[in-house]
């Protein structure tokens, strides 16, 4: 798959965990020798709200304060500049090519091609250390043909879990990417899938063939049927990255729910 990636697109805004996204994007760009392109999206909802006469925001430090367009735009510009600087520093340090733009229309600005790889923060920054708004990039991710990574930490430690549904091109692409990431991060790779898949004749040989050339420790574990069981299994495996083959990805609503309930990065290879 790496051969088909033309660039890494990292989606950034004023409220998401940009740093984790930048770290992950730069790491992947370095690994695949691809440029990284940062897209800072100015929040349309925020600007609409700021126009309303009764717009207020409540902050921990200052309580209630009026919100107007000028103030909102200043804040957005400040966050955009910080994101640009962080991206530039990280890219320069890794010696990769980078670019950056600011857009206001999420769909238009971030919409990625099939040869792009999309990276975004998995949630907003917490308001009190706990409360995070859900990932706001689904409107970009779901219609896009590109593979994507939702980053929570941006670093890989522990275990990468590859979720397969069946043998086939989607699974092969996923395993190739997961093995590559695991090898680089010296992480374990645990392949999970339906019990019948793991028991299929020739599955082990197929797996070995795909992973040939990667120095990675692989385990195979059957997954359980319900989402609850899957979430529990991911926790028990100390999973840091859940890599999902395109054909194993649950429907959008279920995927959103899954992402909201687990505490690791999520990679979907399309």
């Amino acid at each position: 798959m790496s051969g088909t990636i033309s660039r890494i697109v990292v989606a950034l805004d004023a409220v998401s965990e940009n740093r984790a996204a930048i770290v992950a994007a730069v790491r992947l760009a370095a690994q695949w020798n691809a440029p990284v392109h940062g897209v800072f999206v100015e929040d349309d909802d925020l600007l609409r709200l700021a126009v309303l006469p009764f717009a207020r925001q409540v902050t921990l430090g200052f309580g209630v304060e009026a919100l107007d367009v000028t103030q909102a735009e200043r804040q957005l510009r400040a966050y955009a500049e910080r994101a640009r600087r962080d991206l530039a520093e990280a890219a320069r340090a890794s010696g990769i090519e980078w670019s950056f733009e600011i857009v206001r229309d999420t769909t238009v600005g971030v919409a990625a091609a099939a040869t792009d790889f999309l990276v975004a923060g998995i949630s907003t920054r917490p308001i009190d250390g706990h409360f995070r708004m859900q990932c706001r990039w689904w409107s970009v991710i779901e219609p896009s043909p590109a593979s994507f990574l939702l980053a929570r930490e941006g670093r890989l430690r522990g275990t990468i879990v590859g979720l397969l549904q069946r043998r086939g091109p989607d699974a092969e692409r996923l395993l190739a990417v997961a093995a590559q990431l695991a090898e680089t991060a010296e992480a374990r790779l645990t392949v999970i899938g339906p019990p019948e898949l793991a028991g299929e004749e020739g599955f082990a040989a197929w797996l070995s063939q795909i992973l040939a050339g990667h120095r990675v420790q692989v385990e195979i574990s059957p997954t359980l049927s319900t989402p609850e069981a899957l979430i529990r299994q991911i926790g028990e495996l100390d999973c840091r990255l859940l890599a999902i083959a395109a054909d194993a990805a649950p429907p959008p609503e279920q995927l959103r729910d899954l992402v909201a309930r687990i505490s690791c990065d999520v990679l979907v290879v399309r």
Binding site: L46, L49, A55, V58, A93, G129
Partner: protein, 816 residues
């Protein structure tokens, strides 16, 4: 003519059996030899070591008394000339005593967790300090493994999850509940860059302004009311957030404390058992345990803020450095480790400055700043000597940077306070460590010169109260048979200690003779062993140069000669100029009012005799004797005193019945430097009496000796050098057998002359003649009976007096 008082010429009471005043001394009295055949050994290696310093019983008793006195202030000042073995004797006595005493405890500094600026001291039984330091290092190493493991355990994670979930539920119930209720009313909660906001929504997005304005008024009011209500609720929730955060942090801290406490208790429990009999250590371990519980995060892996690629190289401290800095506070700084010591310490500090005595706090340069902590406290000599003895050089202490003040302060206060000189002088404005003072129990021995002792005694009250014992070292010892043999053993001891070749008994005998010469006394031996050690070393080298296995008298003599030759350049130049008649010294013939005097000049460690022509002139006057040296501000007070004594002598002998109507002047001819001492007063008197009597003095003699008002000749110093100085002049001019030196009879016992002088005397080529009185000396020097001379002087003075009286009458009568 009035009667003249004279003293009888006779045998000098001193050494009466051995020589007669006025007669040349036999060669045997010119140098009291040490006869090798009387020494009971062939080689020095046969002799046992000398038991102690020679002749220093008084000093040793004083030191031993001070050692027995435990009261404050019984410190010792060992005074005496350099080279008398002060250091060796003091060191030996202290070590002997120290070996019988208890080994003092180890001294450590540890962190004061309540106030790191004021480190605590810990005392542990000797040798246990290092053990505690190692145990603390091991504890930290183990905790760095055990604590992360404890925090990685499922049990901890589960407990933490419970805590996190509990407080997360506050957020979810608060914000999530608000979000749900707002959504139900068509209001969305959005995350702004700074916080949260509520907005009406339409089709999943925030309502546009124009859409809102297009709504019916009633609808707008309803939405605004709902928004205000939700916003009020949001504010209330936000106000609770800090409290939730506090409670969450406290709950986590409590969990961490519990988790840490269990792990630490297991590890530190063993240490408590090991140090159970040391309450201070137990108290320290309690503090350590509390601190670890409060700062457990230091032991846990820190989440990385930047990947290596994100940070510039070298911008951050290495992990090892950071860890080192974090855990330094649990180290134990053993500043004094008495582990390998038997008995009390005896410490000699050769650089007794403030810092070297009381210790110092060093600093480390880290990222451009100087930092310090208790680990950088360095002990001073007082710490190392605590519980024992400290030897210091008094002169170095006084001139060393504030060493004396710091020592006095420590001894007076009874504690060692480590502070920089700036702090001690109240000149520091920066904050630095204030280590807890350490109680002091040390006996200090200062080794110094007598002069400094007397100065300190006179001008420093603290010195008197702090150094109550003076150990006064002798510079000489009586040259008895026992002392001679003991000296031979000292030589043998030095030879062994310095790993020199063995000395045969001729060589040892020559060394002993030189010891008498060094002190300038045939009946005494010098206790200053420094010069003897050097002589032995140099003789050994000369023996080595010629491949001898045993050092003989020839090598000793050669070493003495070489030593003299190295330092006699100026002396030889003066001798040469006398030979060339540039400096005028007569060694033959007769002269009125002129005599050869003798003085001593020193060049470093060497001293040489220097003949000087002294002349006198007399004329009619008012009875004064003028010292031209003093008038020219070249004469010192002792010399002036000597000249005034001459006045007394003249008055006593010739002024009883007549006025002394004379004016006399005395001068050291061709002398261009200062003159002091009274050893030339006899010579000056001879010159004066010759001038008065007009009886010439034999120039083949030189004279040394002081004189009192009664004409008694008194002993002087440097008699050997003076005789040798004139002998060298005469030898250059040619020895005639008439030449010689007249010396005080009381100096005969001091004669330890060079072998060539003794040989010349033995051959009748040179004479050393003792005199007891001025009359005896004058007869010897003039060959004229003293009564004749006295009559001539009396007649001359009568003549002066008559002329003076006539002149006075003429003046009174107005005649020209």
């Amino acid at each position: 003519m009035p009667p003249v008082q004279t003293r009888p010429v006779g045998v000098v009471a001193d050494k009466a059996a051995e020589f007669a005043s006025g007669s040349p001394l036999p060669a045997a009295l010119l140098n009291r030899r040490c006869r090798p055949e009387e020494l009971p050994f062939a080689l020095s290696s046969e002799l046992a070591d000398a038991p102690a310093q020679i002749g220093q019983e008084r000093a040793a008793d004083a030191v031993e008394f001070a050692l027995r006195m435990r009261q404050k202030g019984y410190n010792v000042y060992a005074l005496g000339p350099a080279g008398t073995g002060r250091h060796r004797l003091v060191d030996g006595l202290l070590k002997q005593r120290a070996a019988t005493e208890a080994t003092p405890p180890d001294l450590c500094y540890v962190n004061n967790f309540a106030d790191p600026q004021k480190p605590h001291r810990l005392e542990l039984p000797a040798g246990q300090g290092a053990g505690l330091a190692a145990a603390m290092k091991k504890l930290v190493d183990e905790l760095r493994i055990a604590l992360p493991a404890a925090f990685e355990r499922d049990e901890y994670r589960a407990r933490r999850e419970v805590v996190d979930q509990h407080f997360k539920s506050h957020s979810e119930e608060g914000f999530g509940g608000l979000q749900q209720r707002a959504e139900a009313k068509g209001i969305t909660l959005i995350r702004t860059p700074m916080g949260l906001a509520l907005a009406p929504k339409r089709d999943g997005k925030v309502m546009q302004s124009e859409d809102f304005e297009a709504l019916p008024e009633e609808e707008r009011k309803r939405i605004q009311a709902d928004l205000e209500a939700a916003q009020t609720e949001l504010e209330a929730i936000m106000r609770q957030v800090p409290q939730w955060e506090r409670e969450h942090r406290e709950a986590l801290r409590a969990l961490n404390r519990d988790t840490t406490g269990f792990a630490v208790a297991n590890l530190i429990g063993g240490m408590r058992a090991d140090y159970g009999d040391l309450p201070d250590v137990i108290e320290y371990l309690d503090a350590v345990e509390r601190d670890i519980k409060e700062n457990v995060d230091d032991f846990l892996p820190q989440p990385q803020q930047m990947t290596p690629a994100e940070g510039p190289p070298g911008a951050m401290a290495s992990e090892a450095t950071v860890a080192d800095m974090k855990f330094r506070r649990y180290q134990v700084n053993v500043i004094v480790d008495n582990g390998g010591r038997q008995g009390a310490p005896v410490i000699y500090e050769d650089n007794p400055t403030h810092q070297m005595l009381v210790g110092r706090v060093e600093h480390l340069a880290r990222f451009g700043a100087l930092i310090t902590d208790f680990n950088l406290i360095v002990a001073g000599a007082l710490h190392r000597a605590n519980g024992g003895y400290l030897i210091l050089d008094a002169e170095r202490l006084i001139v060393g940077a504030y060493g004396w003040q710091s020592l006095k302060r420590a001894l007076q206060s009874g504690e060692i306070r480590i502070e920089s000189l700036e702090q001690a002088l109240s000149m520091a404005s920066t904050v630095t460590l204030q280590p807890e003072p350490i109680p002091i129990d040390v006996k200090v021995v200062l080794v110094g010169s007598p002069l400094l002792y007397y100065l300190l005694s006179a001008h420093d009250e603290d010195f008197v109260s702090l150094f109550k014992i003076a150990a006064d070292f002798e510079d000489r010892v009586e040259r008895s048979d026992a002392a001679t043999l003991l000296y031979a053993r000292v030589v043998a001891t030095i030879v062994r200690r310095e790993h020199l070749r063995a000395f045969d008994r001729d060589a040892v005998a020559r060394v002993i003779e030189q010891a008498a010469r060094l002190i300038g006394d045939s009946e005494r031996l010098s206790t200053s062993l420094r010069a003897t050690v050097e002589l032995l070393q140099e003789a050994d080298q000369l023996a080595a140069d010629v491949g001898k296995e045993v050092v003989g008298a020839a090598e000793v003599q050669a070493a003495i000669d070489a030593h003299t030759r190295r330092g006699d350049r100026i002396y030889r130049r003066m001798q040469e100029e006398i030979g060339r008649k540039t400096i005028r010294i007569e060694t033959d013939g007769e002269q009125v009012g002129q005599i050869n005097g003798l003085s001593v000049i020193s060049f470093g460690a060497l001293a040489f005799g220097n003949p000087t022509r002294i002349t006198a002139q007399v004329r009619m006057g008012r009875g004064e004797v003028v010292d031209i040296e003093r008038e020219g501000q070249l004469g010192g007070p002792l010399h002036s005193k000597g000249v005034l004594i001459l006045n007394g002598f003249l008055g006593g002998r010739f002024g009883q019945t007549r006025p002394l109507s004379l004016h006399a002047s005395l001068v050291f001819e061709q002398s261009y430097g200062g003159v002091d001492g009274d050893s030339a007063s006899a010579a000056e008197l001879f010159a004066l009496l010759s001038a008065l009597s007009e009886v010439p003095i034999r120039q083949s003699f030189a004279v040394t000796g002081s004189v009192d008002q009664h004409g008694i000749i008194q002993a002087i110093g440097g008699v050997n050098e003076k005789i040798e100085g004139f002998f060298d002049v005469c030898r250059t001019a040619g020895l005639t057998g008439r030449q010689g030196v007249v010396i005080p009879a009381s100096n005969v016992k001091h004669l330890m002359l060079r072998a060539d002088v003794v040989a010349a005397a033995e051959a009748g080529q040179f004479r050393v003649i003792p005199m007891a009185t001025i009359d005896q000396g004058l007869e010897l020097l003039t060959g004229v009976p003293i009564d004749t001379i006295n009559r001539k002087i009396a007649a001359r003075l009568d003549d002066f007096a008559a002329k003076a009286a006539a002149l006075a009458r003429n003046v009174a009568g107005g005649l020209p």
